[in-house]
């Protein structure tokens, strides 16, 4: 983790106009391929969403999402195969169970519901992915910067932020 922190320290803090930073966790088989499909069709969408690829949306541990917010993300997207189309039979059923629960928890922790979006995107739904990125970026832009650690500090919590990763 030392290296990651080092990277963080060296990177220049943006001084220009604020741009929303959104992290998208995508499953490889449907949603990542769907995002590729948007590219192949040369659909344009804002460059604010950075994709992290996992094999299945079932791998998306809520910890990944809270870490993203804690590290400065203004929004998080989670996309997986539609129910019934999971490459791993039912990995996305677990996603379906986890995400609404997480959304409530995040709301309780001071994160507006619109900052966390969970949608199914199939390998053929490039257009849906592009539309989703546009919508989410606009919503997050209108909400402004999140600065979750600061927000939590103002509420008097947040000492647990920036927890070290296992095995680091």
């Amino acid at each position: 983790m030392a290296e990651a922190n080092a990277i963080q320290q060296e990177a220049p803090v943006a001084t220009k106009a604020w741009e929303p930073r959104i992290v998208a966790f995508l499953c490889y088989w449907c949603s990542y391929t769907g995002a590729d499909a948007a590219g192949t069709a040369r659909m344009k969408y804002p460059p604010n969403v950075d994709i992290i690829r996992l094999m299945c949306s079932g791998r998306i541990d809520p910890e990944l999402i809270t870490t993203a917010f804690a590290q400065g993300a203004d929004g998080v997207m989670v996309c997986g195969c539609h129910i019934g189309d999971c490459h791993y039979i039912s990995g996305n059923h677990k996603t379906m169970a986890r995400m609404p629960l997480l959304k409530r928890t995040l709301t309780d922790l001071g994160i507006e519901p619109d900052r966390f979006v969970h949608e199914w995107v199939s390998a053929a739904e490039g257009e849906k992915f592009a539309r989703l990125v546009r919508e989410v970026t606009e919503k997050v832009r209108s909400l402004g910067p999140l600065r979750w650690p600061q927000r939590m500090k103002e509420r008097g919590v947040g000492s647990g932020m920036g927890r070290q990763a296992w095995g680091a």
Partner: protein, 661 residues
Amino acid sequence: MSERRIGVYICHCGGNISDVVDVKRVAEEVGQLPGVVYSTTQMFVCSDPGQVLIEQKIKELGLNRVIVAACSPTLHQLTFRRTVARAGLNQFLFEHINIREQVSWVSEDKELATQKALRLIRAAVGRVQHLVPLDKRRIAIHPAALVIGGGIAGLVAARDLAQRGMKVTLLEKRPFLGGRMSQLHTLFPTGEDAHAAVNKVIEEVVSHPLVTVFTNAQILSSEGVVGDFRTRVRIEPRGANEHLSYGGNAIAACPEETINEFDFGLSHRKAIYMAYPGCYPPIPAIDWHTCTKCGKCVSAVGGKGIDLGEQPREIMLHSGVIVLATGYDPYEPLYGEYGYGIFPRVITLQQLVRYLDPQGPTGGQLPRNGDAPTRIAFLHCVGARQIEGVNQRQPDGKVKDYCARTCCTAALHTALEIKQQYPDAVIANFYQDIRTYGRGHEAYYERASEAGVLFVRYDPYRPPRVEKNPKGDSAFVVKSRDLLTGGLDIEMPADLVVLATGVVPHDISELIGMYHCAVGYDSFLLEVHPKLRPVELAVSGVFLAGCCQGPMDVTEACAAASAAASKAAALISQGQMEMDPFISKVNEELCTGCQTCLTVCPYDAITRDEARKVAVVSEARCTGCGTCAAACPSNAIQQLGFNDAQVLSEVHALLAGAALA
């Protein structure tokens, strides 16, 4: 942690990337990141010079992590894994970043796109710090194949496997081979006899010394994984055996009759029966639900060859691969759908085909209305291309919204057959679209038009109606709006209404559970990749042949079966199989044995070692979804290649510089 020496290669993709992303600047800035000892741009990293440069720098600079930022990993990840492996570096110390499909092709602002590319590569630099060498898993493959289903797809798969020298066992649930194809009369686009064609393949299969066929076979359970499947099968008693020499006498003597499913209920058969003349095995079978064990068949054949007390037996089959060829069922219209079930002269296309078969219930004759020319209305897309809110929902709560693909050509083929036999017949097709998509299929459409077959295009939102004819000069009137004549309302008197019904998968819910098959929204089995890996299930070692995967005609089912057989044979002939290493691994020191992972695993790949009270992952069974890793409350179970350290570092590095306060 030993010193990281990271090399980053950024691709121009001949302008596809560099026209939008300032790759030179990205390379310069990435070069400043900790651990990065080399960063460069290349016109095409995937080209020979690009790959040579990767190999060269690994050797020259001692690179121990390699990142390529280029197209989508679905295109070239494997290429570059091989490249780094050639230079002696473990292939899983390579990371592929997508800056074409997900950056340059979707972005307009060059500055923002460049920043995005930079962030993604920075995230990869964070991630590769924590990559560890992984080895592909290798699993031994038992040299035998199991084919489930004795229809044309299963038969072709079994034949092809045997012809490649593989030992094959073919299981058929019903007492006779041939499946749905044996219920057809003639085949499009050649018009050849369906029985002759299927019997030819059956002959090739049963005469092959490497094939063992079991009919009346019911799969009880299946254990094991690719390379080592153990399938327990119950062989239901046939009642008659090969010592029976006068099967016809036994059938004639039987007093019990039931509905003949082979003719879709248009005729009756005895309790001891043959599916059709010339079927295989050429031995009658007893339907135990209908048989009263009166013994008349036994006396009729002099007591030899029939055993009414025969017991089921169980066998265990050991195979390295499995081919699923479980086929389809014709869509059964709902009661009252276009009058089906209410009026006996509203029949399905399958029933019509049975009427036209000289071996069928009427010896090849259509039911006629006196001497008058038969008037036949074909209704297309029954149980296919249905629309939510227009068509009635099926018992499973869905509408059959997919195209069944085969019925257009089949209906036109059958209409032409009728025209040949009954030149005076009046035939109209009520259709949404005519989809005669296959080679030679369009000719049926043209020939049908030339032969005077009528076409009425209906609006799928206002499907035709079948009503009793109040005037009584025909059995029915079919009412429809015809879009071809600008929306004229048409009424056609008809003696026979034929529903060109769709295709639904045969119910194999038990097998789906046993083999952990992925199933699509349409309830057909789901392949790994619809284009690149069309006959493989995500479960390793299980292949798909024919209509269990979707509607196919005989040509397509045979092609799919041959493909499945060749994939299965390739696996067997390698003797072992390589699999991605991204499986889950348990840190036994952290595992509390809580079994949460057992409950979320879609593949039953995790068990608990009761002695040590820890979770144990079956390497062969795990497919690497990582769902258990997300569920583990003590972070004890980790997915190789996507462990917490790797993914969290990626998140940290990605968001470096984001405003926290």
